[in-house]
């Protein structure tokens, strides 16, 4: 029992962080010198700015070699390399033969924006262990890191979680904190350099990092995204701010101050691995929500990451829903511990999924005055290879972090664990490809998630949209003029029921898979205080008409290039608060492992064809096909002013 508990604690500690260690100082990093003639943001206006906004595709969750888990799996790409890759350059990834990468990857279409979000917690320790002239380089922990990286993955991550830092970090971890400035400045500089400040506005890079707390292996990780290059002197890690509310407070103290130009927002991710804690109705330590807490959460966390390498967090069949499409990229474990040891696994619970949170938020708003879960959605990759936007199912390079390592040898069989996937993209509707425009879109939640394909999805709600809106050339103008876009809150009621205008265009690049259908998912709070949900098929075709052969990945059957509809909620009740979001489904295609397994000639009925590392090809708990999708941020309706 003690041993079992100890293992549980160890896994918890590997993924959590120690209590606050030292007071952080509200000193901003010095602004980088900017060419003369630029505006305060440091750029000229974009030539193609449009008030009707355009869809920009990006990745807001990217790790480089500055993250310990990436480094211990052989990742050498630095933040600068990640941005180069995002802009379309070819990039080498591990394993390496000397200095030569044995694999290369390249995006067929560059991203519009990206943010490198390295784990802030071990910036200093990692830097010391890799810098021969650094004080502490010869410490035993560093020797372990250099000789047995995989052992360091467990030992260094874990040993720093007791609240004390390594002896080589010195008193109050001063040496490591000082060393952390190097990687943080590298992060900032890489983002500043990659940002296209010309009028072409080809690429936007955002300064960011990841706050990495996971008490009792329940993931509470969050990415911190900054509006511009004005950022705290050091990232506020989970060693400095152990609780989420401590993180908000520290950001308030150091960043979100009007006069210093620093502004940050927070995007939680992997609620599917949170053991239900991410969207529980209490703080992570069990403290009941207060009015102040829910208000701060709503202000600081306008978005949530829906899908990424480590699974999908929208919803799960049997956990608050019977929606048949809530079977997408589900993990067979409910927290990090469950991945490493079966006995640590926890059953999936309602607090782990975003749709449940959206519903729960309606009730919390009623009782506490603010909806803490009024979140828009994005997706990203969480790549630990430094390869933002590498989301194609037929070109999955692997995760490169917590999965199967291939740091010094070519992957045997599949490039990573079968439970992982290529991740998704963040999409924002922005006037132009600039930091301010993108950050504003994130803040107002005019965003959506895709699981990879670059579908373009518009979603508006109003009270008087015309039936023929889809046939008009001014769909977008009318959409904005007559209501609110995704992420918005419906204005005062002006007719008997809200009308929704949705337009989806299939991805015209990549695998070019046609669209199958558009659904609207509604959640509402009834008069008795109970929450409900309903899924409406709005436009498109039924399942089964289009097919994919998992043995060849050949697709067949009808689909649409564009789907558009004006839809009225038939079940609307003026006295009930509600939300609606849209889900756009592509026709079925192959999941990533199918391309590799088929190419290797794996026939699960013939054991002789199952080569080394290919056994997961025949693991029937992971589907061979899927339906890629876009999920929009919701639009809310609030019937009464809340006190």
């Amino acid at each position: 029992m003690i041993y079992r508990r100890s293992i549980w604690v160890l896994i918890a500690l590997l993924l959590s962080a120690p209590p606050a260690r030292a007071e952080t100082v509200a000193v901003l990093a010095p602004p980088l010198a900017l060419p003369a003639g630029l505006n305060p943001e440091g750029r000229v206006a974009c030539a193609d700015r449009t008030p009707l906004r355009k869809a920009l595709f990006g990745d807001l969750h990217v790790h480089s070699t500055l993250s310990l888990d990436a480094a211990t799996q052989g990742t050498r790409n630095r933040p600068r390399d990640a941005y180069r890759f995002a802009r379309g350059e070819r990039l080498g990834i591990q394993p390496y033969d000397g200095d030569v990468a044995m694999r290369e990857v390249q995006l067929e279409r560059p991203l519009d924006f990206a943010a490198v979000t390295d784990h802030a917690e071990l910036f200093g320790e990692l830097h010391i262990c890799r810098t021969p002239e650094a004080e502490g380089y010869d410490a035993t922990a560093c020797k372990i890191y250099r000789r047995w990286p995989r052992l360091a993955f467990f030992l260094i991550n874990g040993s720093m979680t007791d609240g004390s830092s390594f002896a080589f970090c010195g008193e109050n971890a001063a040496i490591c904190l000082k060393a952390a400035k190097g990687p943080w400045e590298e992060t900032i500089t890489a983002a500043e350099e990659a940002y296209d400040r010309s009028s072409a506005c080809n690429f936007t890079s955002l300064v960011a990092y990841e706050w990495t707390a996971a008490p009792e292996t329940n993931n509470l990780h969050r990415n911190i995204i900054f509006r511009n290059g004005k950022v705290p002197e050091l990232p506020i890690s989970s060693r400095d701010a152990r609780k989420v509310s401590d993180l908000w407070a520290a950001l308030d103290e150091q960043c979100n101050i009007e006069e210093n130009g620093c502004e940050a927002l927070i995007i939680p991710h992997n609620s599917n691995l949170s053991g239900g804690v991410m969207f529980a109705e209490t703080e992570e330590d069990g403290t009941p929500f207060s009015r102040d807490y829910v208000k701060r959460r709503a202000e600081m966390e306008p978005l949530v990451e829906l899908s990424q390498h480590k699974g999908d967090s929208e919803c799960r069949i049997g956990v608050g829903t019977r929606d048949e499409f809530c079977d997408f990229e589900l993990l067979p474990y409910g927290n990090f511990g469950g991945k490493f040891a079966d006995f640590q696994n926890v059953a999936p619970s309602e607090g782990s999924f975003v749709r449940n949170a959206l519903k729960k938020g309606l009730a919390l708003e009623k009782s506490l005055g603010t909806n803490p879960f009024q979140m828009g959605v994005i997706s990203s990759t969480d790549t630990h290879l430094g390869t933002p936007g590498a989301v194609r199912e037929d070109q999955h390079p692997g995760h490169g972090g917590a999965g199967a390592p291939s740091s010094v040898t070519m992957p045997r069989g599949l490039p990573d664990d079968i439970d992982f996937n290529p991740g998704g993209l963040a999409v924002v509707w922005a006037e132009e490809n600039s930091r301010d425009s993108i950050f504003d879109a994130l803040q107002r939640r005019e965003t959506y998630s895709t699981t990879g394909p670059r579908m373009k999805v518009r979603f508006f709600a109003g009270w008087n949209y015309a039936d023929d809106l889809c046939a008009r050339n001014d769909f977008v103008e009318k959409g904005y003029a007559g209501g609110v876009p995704m992420g918005g809150i419906l204005p005062t009621m002006a007719s008997s029921a809200p009308r929704f205008a949705i337009q989806a265009l299939r991805d015209s690049g990549g695998l070019e898979t046609p669209l199958q259908r558009v659904q609207i998912i509604k959640g509402w709070l009834d008069d008795a205080g109970n929450v409900h949900e309903k899924v409406y098929d709005v436009v498109g075709r039924a399942a089964g008409e289009a097919t994919v052969d998992s043995q060849t990945c050949t697709t067949a059957g009808p689909g649409a290039d564009e789907l558009c509809q004006v839809w009225t909620d038939p079940d609307f009740r003026p006295g009930q608060s509600a939300f609606w979001y849209a889900r756009v489904l592509e026709n079925p295609t192959c999941r990533w492992q199918s391309y590799i397994c088929n190419a290797a000639g794996v026939d699960c009925n013939d054991p002789g064809t199952i080569g080394e590392g290919m056994a997961p090809c025949c693991d029937t708990s992971f589907p061979r096909t899927l339906q890629e999708r876009a999920v929009t941020s919701a639009i809310w309706f609030l019937p009464d002013p809340v006190l």
Partner: protein, 127 residues
């Protein structure tokens, strides 16, 4: 060759070359000497930096190292007991050379801590 020397020589060969299974966040096969090496490094972390994780990892690795060392010592004694005294020297030398050759020629060790878990030989294990 005395039985004590024989026993110790065989034991040493087994410690250095014989692949034994172990567990440390995944199973692996390695020699007890290698286990002792990483146990030592982990123990230094435990002694210098402390912490629950280092304690647990040290305990896990050191315990397995000691248990395997004891088991191989017992096995060595039993084997030597059954080998006639006149043939012990030859037997020990042959066994040691065979173990050494096998561990150098074949990738008989595999641990996720070394080369992504790929099978390696003795040199690869200690690199």
């Amino acid at each position: 060759m005395s039985s004590v020397w024989s026993r110790c020589s065989l034991w040493l060969s087994l410690l250095l070359f014989l692949p034994v299974p172990f567990w440390a966040f995944g199973t692996g096969w390695a020699s007890v000497a290698w286990l002792a090496e990483i146990s030592g490094f982990t123990a230094i972390i435990f002694l210098v930096d402390g912490g629950l994780v280092a304690t647990m990892m040290t305990a896990t690795l050191v315990t397995q190292t000691i248990l395997w060392a004891a088991a191989l010592f017992f096995a060595s004694a039993r084997i030597v007991h059954y080998v006639p005294g006149s043939r012990r020297a030859g037997f020990i030398a042959t066994t040691g050379l065979l173990l050494l050759a096998g561990s150098l020629l074949f990738p008989v060790y595999a641990t996720s801590f070394v080369r992504d878990g790929q099978p390696v030989n003795l040199i690869g294990l200690f690199q």
